[in-house]
């Protein structure tokens, strides 16, 4: 299950409009989705936002990966729905719990769009353009790079400890966490050695040679990026207006055809 969730967050090299967008434009999009889906809890606007993310996923040609991710997180969605449905005292508990589950789905889908269509190196570049120091951006890239390596290593250690009789599956939450200690410790110690070897390799490739550095990739904020960003901002402002100025139910009344 855990690996499937990652599917929807891995960059996939395709040629779509979304892939060509500047990461900064897509960051604006994420923020918009976050704002919109957090201010509304009604079913109808939530559905609209959700459908819009799905449309973008179709545009990004990433439906399969996204579905895998969603399948992987299905249990969480179900839990959100059930907990709310049974615990909320409200009379519209059903529609509310559906929209809360949708909110979760929408937010992870928005992030998934970002990560699936943004080449990580460009994300690092965007961070640098946003005045994040290069070292931090590099640390981010490297963290992404070493996730699969660490996952593989963790699995090796788990297998090794299991073969020596370590039981990981049974017991309650606390007990399980405790039982993972013999997995964490070697993982932890190994990462020190790894960090040192990585640093050594980086210096051997002239890291720290000069204060200036050049970049293979370049970011360009095109007209399309501007349009996309504007669209996000306008829609978000519209949402904020409806929520805090017009009032959601009044807007509904306004939108209803006059008799």
């Amino acid at each position: 299950m855990s690996l499937n969730i990652i599917q929807g967050f891995k960059f996939n090299r395709k040629n779509t409009v979304l892939h060509s967008f500047d990461p900064r434009a897509k960051l604006v999009y994420i923020v918009s989705v976050l704002i919109l889906s957090l201010i509304f809890s009604e079913l109808c606007p939530m559905l609209i936002i959700f459908v819009s993310t799905i449309l973008l996923i179709i545009v990004a040609k990433a439906v399969n990966e996204w579905l895998k991710s969603i399948k992987g997180s299905f249990i969480i969605v179900l839990m959100i729905f059930m907990l709310n449905y049974f615990l909320l005292p409200a009379e519209n508990a059903l529609s509310l719990s559906i929209s809360l589950a949708l909110r979760f789905l929408t937010i992870i889908s928005a992030f998934s769009i970002f990560f699936m269509t943004t080449y990580p190196e460009n994300f690092a570049l965007a961070l640098i353009k946003l005045k994040v120091p290069y070292d931090h951006a590099l640390a981010f890239t490297m963290a992404l790079r070493f996730i699969p390596t660490l996952a593989k290593e963790a699995q090796t250690i788990i297998d090794a400890q299991r073969s020596r009789g370590l039981e990981l599956e049974s017991g309650n939450f606390i007990i399980r966490i405790k039982r993972f200690t013999p997995v964490f410790i070697p993982l932890f110690i190994n990462s020190f050695r790894r960090a040192s070897q990585i640093a050594e390799a980086m210096e051997s490739r002239a890291f720290g040679y000069s204060n200036k550095r050049s970049y293979l990739h370049e970011l360009s904020f095109t007209t399309y990026d501007t349009l996309f960003t504007l669209l996000c901002i306008i829609l978000t402002s519209l949402g904020l207006c409806i929520k805090f100025y017009l009032g959601y139910s009044e807007t509904l009344v306004l939108a209803r055809p006059w008799p």
Partner: protein, 282 residues
Amino acid sequence: MSPIIEALNLSFRYAGEERWAIKSINLKIYPGELVLITGPSGCGKTTLCRCFNGLIPHFYEGELEGILIVDGLSIVENKTCKLAQRVGMVFQNLENQLIMLSVEDEIAFGLENLNLPRDTIKERINEVLSILGIEHLRYKSPYELSGGEQQKVAIAACLAMKPKILVLDEPTAHLDPLSSKVLFDILSSIRKRLNLTIILVEHRLDMVASIVDKVIVMDKGQIILQGGPREVFTTPIIKAIGIGIPKLILLYEDLLLNNLKLDFPPLNINEAELLLRKLLSR
């Protein structure tokens, strides 16, 4: 011709250790040579390699004595990041030297550090990808690659910086025999093409004996033998150290004990066949 690497009484002791990891190393390596360094585990091969690009004394702390001049630069006065343009280093651990998310970026990393213009970076990426025949891996992630492929990427990333010297520390430790053979073929072809000086730490002597110009045998931090491969491998004291002497050399010595003398110690199958035919026709 003057040596490209010259060590005079070079010794190094890691901080907090009592023993010298390498002791009184004297060597001369000439431009274009392919030099093999071998010796039992813990004899100081990796430590010596770390000296060649200044990781010792700049990255590893400790006590350094003697002199090491690499391509005209003293390792004491020049940091690793400066020496990087002259000495490329391929480490034993394959994965921890590949730090970026794609092969292309991996190769670009060193060039970006050197602040080279974008066009040059692109040119060099294409160049090294084609030299190593890995154009198809360009957009792959390092963790999607096999050991042999990772090795080629690590070499490509070094070569892109156009070093004069390439140091490889046990490059085949994680490779199967076939990929190792491929690697050695690549090394012997690029050394001529790029005019490289190559220093190779290796245990698989059978496979490399015929491509190296010089062999350096180390034991307990010291160099105990150095010279041409035929000469070094047939020196009697080499048997006492515990390194895997090439089988063809063993065959040569066995025949010698039985009063069958080949003209010279063979280093590869072709040579051995030729010499044996000659012996039989006598």
